[in-house]
Assembly symmetry: C2
Homo-oligomer: 370 residues x 2
């Protein structure tokens, strides 16, 4: 407790929409929320707490930021590991900085999955156009070249159609250390969002089924159309990763499902876009559960609160009041992050809950131009 | 729309916990929230928007406050009517200032109920100790003397046990214009929370059953143990008041139920403490629906999202992390307003949802010392 007026102070590294949604959950519980972001108060999280303007790699700023925090967490995985460790020497930091090291590097991540017996697609690390060509010949085409680090929303990726694309592909990813992944003709993409508390207790949200376009999540449905076996294997993968790290907080793993086989694609040691439906559709949102875990508090139930859910991302959408009215009239829950719309930028989402959620989500997509 | 980054700007006169909860609902939808409160940014709503420091009666400040707002509303009914009308000449204000005039004065309020055919308890206006004694003799004792204006949470009230208490009672309420109300031996207190949209569409939350102690709401349960007839009459009363005023927004009416008779006690032209359970337990919270109405947007459904609800107020509670953990471990949803605890001050609430909500609410009361 920081004093009688606030229940606790939580620092979040990053002040984007995930920080904003963490903040909304935190303020409701009486947490004082503080954020660190290069955009300062103009960041989306500025609506729900003080945003200290600073680069994540600026250790002096980080030390100022964590002063007075009861716990510190992050809303994205590209926090410098050294900085996170510095913070963890002084204040409770969750999830553990160790997981950042793995989650920041596709090669370490895939190898980590394999070390725990979690199946992944076929891949090879590549460090030159020559290695890339050889890997493409062994793995076959099409195959996807991805930089090991700092890739998100489809950036830093290139699809090879032939081994002869190696030079162009290598140039396209900036000649950075990369991995080549066999193209997976998946039936669907699913993600598991799991939460682990301080005492090791774990719970799992219903699997989400995700549709990406141009590498950006467009739509999620929960529960996914998945067999009991698929669900169990996804949860088991999350359980292994969380136990492996002594993890505390929300963890997301994205999978490809192909012919009943579940291949781990990547993980995010944080709340995740494919879990935004939990705000309106789960008994406890991923944001509240993440904060509870980070503070060492008991977790809330992860089950659906009222039927199946659909989430439609608003990407580059220029909303107006007429659009909002139409979405609300369809029973959609309107979420908006306070960002200037730009192409490819996530500026909000809409959730639909109930048996006809999928049909209404399609209508929402038509309205918002997704 | 105020620009691409914000969906709209809403001004709320008052920055207490109701403002804070309106703000949480508003920020989620992308509204820029602005508040007017004598406490400035230290007000509970300071966590979710800018709080302009000012007295509600300061017209210059009010005009500055409303500049740039798409809509203005209030979180309490004691806003000066003249100030609200000044605002309404310049910007969309909801609910209509006309309702403030009635809701601020117990005598006008009771007469308004009667004019609409809504039963109330027996009462008489009193303007002197002599009138009070006469009224007490006609009405009988015990009877409750209440100032016509500015009473809330049991303040400005005195219970007469005999007509001879008239002098003492009159002194106790400061010699202010008052009404004497016959004591109602009620079976229960219930409240209806209703919402009316710009187009006249209306919806009603399940009735809440309320327990007060020392004039302060301690606990609400929804749905109330009430017959279908009682529910229908409560909704009908709200419908008449809302249609009478061309009301837009959330309206609350509190009733006494005695032997199946429903007597209107008072109304609040705003979101209400007996509706806090809607955050966790209704398909759309009273806060979101109020904002939607105020902006002229379609309303959301008012039904329960997951079983019966109980709300336990935290009054003067000095919370610590151990208390929060215990409440969460019982499945309670913890809400805290960021206020310094003082005796009789509402500093938070806990919601329980599900078939065993009442039993768990009793356990929560034991933990929080309610």
């Amino acid at each position: 407790m920081r004093g009688p007026a606030d229940v606790a102070t939580v620092g979040v590294v990053g002040g984007g929409q995930l920080g904003r949604m963490l903040g909304l959950a935190g303020v409701a519980m009486g947490l004082r929320m503080r954020f660190l972001d290069p955009a300062g108060d103009a960041a989306p999280a500025g609506a729900v707490g003080r945003v200290i303007r600073g680069e994540f790699s600026d250790e002096r700023m980080l030390l100022e930021f964590i002063r007075g925090c009861d716990a510190v967490t992050y809303e994205f995985e590209n926090v410098p590991v050294a900085a996170a460790r510095t913070a963890a020497d002084r204040v409770r930091v969750a999830p553990t900085p160790d997981v950042l090291e793995v989650a920041q590097d596709r090669l370490l991540e895939k190898r980590y999955f394999q070390s725990l017996g979690i199946p992944t697609g076929v891949f090879e690390p590549v460090g030159s156009p020559e290695e890339l060509r050889g890997a493409a010949e062994r793995i076959g085409v099409p195959a996807v070249l991805k930089t090991r680090r700092l890739g998100y929303d489809g950036k830093g990726q290139f699809v090879l159609r032939s081994p002869g694309d190696a030079e162009a592909a290598w140039a396209a990813v900036g000649g950075l250390p990369s991995i080549l992944e066999a193209f997976v003709a998946f039936d669907r993409e699913v993600s598991v969002i799991a939460v682990r508390g301080e005492g090791g207790e774990m719970d799992f949200y219903p699997l989400a089924e995700n549709v990406h376009r141009a590498g950006i999540l467009r739509r999620s449905a929960a529960p996914a159309r998945a067999s009991e076996g698929v669900r169990r294997r996804a949860e088991d993968a999350a359980r292994r990763v969380m136990e492996g790290f002594g993890y505390v907080g929300v963890l997301t793993i994205e999978f490809f499902e192909a012919g009943g086989v579940l291949l781990a694609n990547e993980m995010a040691p944080r709340v995740h876009n494919s879990g935004h439906w939990t705000i309106d559709g789960a008994r406890t949102s991923q944001f509240e559960n993440h904060l509870r875990a980070v503070l060492g508090w008991p977790l809330g139930p992860c089950g659906l609160s009222g039927g199946p859910c659909e989430m439609v991302n608003l990407i580059g959408t220029r909303a107006d009041a007429a659009m909002v009215r139409k979405v609300l009239a369809l029973g959609g829950r309107w979420h908006w992050y306070g960002k200037e719309p730009r192409d490819g930028r996530k500026v909000g989402h809409v959730t639909l809950v109930g048996d006809d959620a999928a049909a209404r989500a399609a209508q929402v997509e038509a309205i918002v131009g997704a």
